[in-house]
């Protein structure tokens, strides 16, 4: 697409995002569970420096998102004791991004989806990409 970029006055963004520090994550998730939210999934975004982890919840078709930003090597507490079903999503982040997650109730040791042929987590951006040369 050779056209010029459309300049948005404001970039489209997702609504209802609550930024929570890592320490309060479990507490907030427990509150949401109490209120009858349904867990949808987690998304991990590697912005080159740190991981942004989103937790998506739904209640009567309205979404709530929790956002936690952590260092690439810092561990994240697992929410599986509260929402057992999160084990698939958390194991997936572990596989694909090499995110460290503590207290997973079902742990595949980073080998749920990928096998030994791929030694490094495939979605994690390499250091070269982080420094801005090549992808």
């Amino acid at each position: 697409m050779g056209e010029a970029h459309t300049i948005h006055a404001e970039l489209p963004d997702i609504e209802n995002v609550q930024v929570v520090p890592k320490e309060q994550l479990l507490e907030r998730v427990a509150q949401l569970a109490e209120q009858g939210h349904r867990f949808i999934t987690t998304t991990c975004i590697d912005n080159g420096e740190r991981f942004e982890v989103y937790y998506h919840f739904d209640r009567q078709l309205a979404m709530t998102h929790l956002q936690v930003t952590i260092d690439r090597d810092a561990p994240l507490p697992s929410i599986t004791p509260i929402y057992f079903c999160a084990f698939v999503a958390e194991n997936e982040m572990k596989d694909l991004f090499g995110l460290r997650i503590d207290g997973l109730m079902v742990d595949y040791q980073g080998r749920m989806l990928v096998s030994d042929e791929l030694p490094t987590p495939p979605m994690r951006k390499s250091d070269a990409r982080r420094n801005g040369d090549g992808s």
């Binding site: 989806l113 990928v114 096998s115 042929e117 791929l118 495939p122």
Partner: protein, 147 residues
């Protein structure tokens, strides 16, 4: 031996394995077995045991984990045997060619006798392909392609 060869030609048994496909080709293979296309009129029966099978139908671009199972299945099948790659992604990797977990085609793992392109491959093409594989098998010309 003549009689057995003849029996094999008249009623080849197929084994289907999904090596990472999107299901599109798999449901077309299943469609082939249903009344509209009816593979069974050629004596073709779908079996679950590789030791009973003559023709192996493989779909999908072959993932790393799938490759191990595929090799295993192929080795368990008695000769003569034929392999049919169903769908573009089984032939060459198709849209998944660049994906990190795909090998890009069945022939990267086991020798293939018949390639059926199409995304998804049409039932008519699949029927043709299976029959072609049976013909090849009866000619006793196993393809010698590297593993």
């Amino acid at each position: 031996m003549k009689l057995i060869d003849k029996a094999r030609m008249k009623s080849p048994w197929v084994l289907h394995y999904n090596a990472g496909s999107c299901n599109g080709c798999d449901i077309e293979i299943l469609s082939c077995l249903t009344p509209m296309y009816d593979l069974e009129r050629f004596g073709i029966v779908n079996v679950g045991n590789p030791k009973h099978a003559d023709v192996l139908l493989v779909t999908g671009p072959v993932t790393h984990r799938g490759a191990r199972v595929l090799r295993n299945l192929y080795e368990q099948m008695p000769s003569p045997k034929a392999v049919v790659a169903v769908g573009t992604c089984a032939c060459s990797g198709g849209v998944f060619r660049n994906c990190y977990n795909c090998l890009g085609g069945v022939d990267k793992v086991i020798p293939v006798d018949v390639y059926i392109p199409g995304c998804a491959a049409k039932p008519e093409a699949i029927i043709d392909g299976v029959l072609m594989a049976v013909e090849r098998m009866s000619e006793h010309t196993p393809l010698k392609r590297g593993k």
